[in-house]
């Protein structure tokens, strides 16, 4: 099938998010402006003010209410979207769990930035990494094109009647949110058709009736009941079951979207770059992978066997795919843009080293904490990391498994 003609727009990451949400025919947007996601809410407000969207925009008084209103709107049958960052996501913490627990397929853009204190408005992943256990699918993007594509995909993933899991799409604060980029956009009607309208799975009510899962006076049901030790555990297990089927659905949606857009991000879960014969590799999430790719390309031109593994989907964690992608690598550096104080390295490091414990061959795995509070992450740092990995291979020894990079020490 020939691809349709796409329109190139100069958008920053936030505008790309707002544009994707607009095209996805969202029913309810409840949002609260907070740096650096403010532009998303502002752009969307403009769409509403100009009649460009058929959306109920609820300009709430806090992020807690923003997510709550999205949750209940979704439970009522609407397509719901919000956006937040940093402190706003932290304020939503309680409702993140309630949203996934109520199986409300809300889509949220998280413009990643540092948590206070000290107060800081710039990028790191502290805000969403700490929410990795809350039952949401987490997708981290590399650039504004990908965030446009991923928001559209997110609705189709979240609302899959067999899944019903909320999705957060992380984009790096300022680095992506405020940087203008050329973004290829699909025609409105194509996106609308692709996302489709919400379909509801059938559930059994307490009266034994089979009804669509939503708040509807014609088919009354109780959502969010008190669930004690006799049932809670099973319901949590069901959420985990949904997480287990999620990778397949994420990949399917990614593939269907690739067919209409011509754009792919690895297999939708991970994006390997020169990994086939790589001896050393960096693993990272977010926009930093763009910088790493540049360095990998440069080193490859010097015939150095280096590679990159970008995790696009962090929740659910694509364990098999990661294991396979790293099976021939001898030394791995995991990049973490967040910190687990007092722990042994960052969140991504924990996962990668943990996965590789079960692998047939055990590469060296080290961790670099980088870029906190928006600290610039330049190619020189990546060169240093690949040199470090090379030295580990030469000496067959890890001197310091967890290091900080790009800061005064």
């Amino acid at each position: 099938m020939a691809l349709v003609k796409q329109k190139m727009l100069a958008l920053n990451g936030d505008e790309a998010v707002a544009y994707a949400a607009k095209q996805s025919d969202v029913d309810v947007v409840a949002a609260y402006p907070i740096t650096p996601q403010t532009i998303i809410v502002e752009r969307f407000s403009e769409y509403v003010a100009n009649g460009e969207v058929d959306t109920e925009f609820v300009c709430v008084e806090s992020e807690h209410s923003a997510l709550t209103a999205c949750l209940t709107a979704a439970a009522t049958g609407a397509r719901a979207f919000t956006a937040t960052a940093s402190a706003g996501l932290a304020l939503m913490h309680e409702i993140l769990y309630v949203t996934s627990g109520c199986r409300a397929p809300v889509v949220m853009a998280v413009v990643n930035r540092a948590l206070s204190a000290p107060i800081n408005i710039h990028c790191d992943h502290s805000d969403s990494m700490v929410e990795r256990d809350c039952g949401w699918i987490q997708i981290y993007v590399e650039n504004s094109q990908e965030v446009y594509d991923s928001i559209i995909q997110a609705f189709k993933i979240a609302e899959n009647p067999g899944l019903l899991l909320p999705v957060m799409v992380g984009l790096d604060g300022f680095t992506l949110s405020h940087t203008l980029e050329n973004v290829q956009t699909l025609p409105d009607d194509l996106v609308k058709t692709f996302v489709g309208t919400r379909q509801f799975p059938l559930v059994t009510t307490h009266e034994g009736k089979t009804v669509p899962f939503k708040l509807d006076p014609k088919t009354p049901e109780t959502i969010g009941p008190l669930d004690l030790h006799d049932y809670y555990f099973e319901h949590k297990r069901q959420q985990e079951e949904a997480m287990r089927i999620a990778p397949k659905i994420i990949q399917q949606v990614h593939e269907e979207y690739a067919k209409i857009s011509g754009r792919r991000y690895g297999d939708g879960l991970i994006e390997p770059h020169y990994l086939e014969d790589a001896e050393t590799a960096i693993v990272c999430v977010g926009s930093t992978s763009g910088t790493v790719k540049t360095v990998v390309n440069e080193l490859r031109s010097k015939r150095m066997k280096v590679g990159l593994l970008r995790l696009r989907t962090f929740r659910p964690l694509p364990v098999k795919e990661i294991t396979k992608a790293l099976e021939n690598v001898k030394a791995v550096a995991v990049m973490d843009r967040s910190l687990s104080f007092g722990g042994h390295g960052g969140a991504v490091f924990h996962e990668i080293r943990h996965i590789l414990y079960d692998a047939s061959t055990h590469p060296y795995v080290v961790n670099y904490i980088y870029g906190l509070g928006g600290r610039d992450t330049n190619p020189n740092l990546m060169h240093k990391i690949y040199r470090d990995l090379q030295r580990i291979l030469e000496t067959q020894r890890i001197e310091e498994p967890v290091q900080f990079i790009g800061l005064r020490e």
Binding site: E56, T68, L71, T72, A78
Partner: protein, 320 residues
């Protein structure tokens, strides 16, 4: 602004219950009576949403529910945001033709903790935004579900587990927050107070709150025998005395214009009928310590503040 809905006790008795028996509320629970009565006020398809609290806990223990209409609970502090999301969704889904065109009412329920304290931000925001919903505060004057801790709705002098009457301190030192006045100050189209003793007044006001376009706030007095240390057979009698002592006067504010409701109007027109607060207090163990020589002055203080607030209300109602 309101329909001419008239009803008799028979009509109400014959109207099917939407809040069903079988829930786990305690004996003598006035909030459960309040819910049942308010459900009699519905005019058509309705979605209810609850804040975490006694009534949420007792009415929806999985896999059971007392609700014959759609119900959603999410958390403690956000029931007004729940209602905002539901209302927004109904509006747009109707506009897009994805749901039937008939009107669906939205009612949010919360206790005093979920309203006066942790829920006031979401409530204030939702009222400011003007969502079309009825917010019902069932006020049992403390966090009863978690073990009788004081809230902003707990009255002066009441002993709770976090404002206990000790040898030095006579129960709660602070005064009950005038929550309904705060709602009126939001320029809310409809606010009212109600007591389950005056069931007809309560149902009428709930119906008005449902009918009004935009937000409505109904503050319902709701004795809790467990927390108030009162006899389980006295909840309705206490609800009666609260009005007769003017501790909990009944009024409505329609577009900010206050008017006394009939039971309280009697007290205004015939002040000799107004009973001393002592009669109300003595039925409740939470005020027991006040009937000792050491703390009896607190009763005078409760009388003083009750009279002062009553006079202020009379002025608002142009009765002086």
């Amino acid at each position: 602004m309101f329909s001419e809905w008239k009803f008799t006790a028979k009509d109400i008795a014959e109207k099917p219950d939407l809040f069903m028996s079988g829930h786990r509320a305690c004996a003598g629970c006035a909030p459960a009576t309040v819910l049942r009565l308010i459900m009699k006020a519905l005019r058509g398809p309705t979605i209810v949403t609850f804040a975490t609290g006694c009534m949420e806990v007792v009415s929806t223990i999985y896999p059971y529910t007392s609700w014959k209409i759609p119900y959603i609970h999410t958390a403690f502090e956000n029931v007004a945001a729940n209602a905002s999301g539901i209302e927004a969704a109904l509006k747009i889904l109707k506009k897009k033709g994805r749901i039937p065109q008939e009107h669906v009412d939205v009612i949010a329920f919360a206790g005093d903790g979920g309203t006066y304290d942790i829920g006031i931000q979401a409530l204030s925001g939702a009222v400011e935004r003007g969502h079309d919903f009825l917010y019902v505060l069932y006020d049992n004057e403390a966090y009863m579900n978690t073990g009788i801790q004081r809230s902003g709705g707990t009255p002066h002098g009441a002993s709770t587990t976090t404002s206990p009457a000790g040898t030095v301190i006579p129960g709660k030192l602070e005064y009950k927050k005038p929550i309904a006045d705060i709602m009126v100050a939001h320029d809310i189209p409809y606010a009212a107070t109600a007591s389950p003793h005056y069931w007809k007044d309560l149902i009428t006001k709930a119906r008005k709150g449902i009918e009004v376009n935009g937000p409505a706030f109904l503050h319902v007095f709701a004795p809790c025998p467990r927390g108030w240390r009162s006899d389980i057979s006295k909840s309705i009698e206490i609800s009666h005395l609260a009005v007769e002592t003017c501790i909990f006067p009944l009024w409505e504010a329609i577009n900010g214009e206050h008017q006394l409701s009939a039971p309280s109007k009697v007290m205004a027109l015939r002040p000799e009928r107004k009973k001393p607060v002592r009669e109300y207090l003595q039925l409740q163990g939470r005020f027991r310590h006040l009937f000792t020589p050491k703390f009896e002055k607190v009763i005078d203080e409760i009388q003083r503040i009750t009279d002062e607030r009553w006079q202020r209300l009379l002025k608002k109602c142009n009765i002086a």
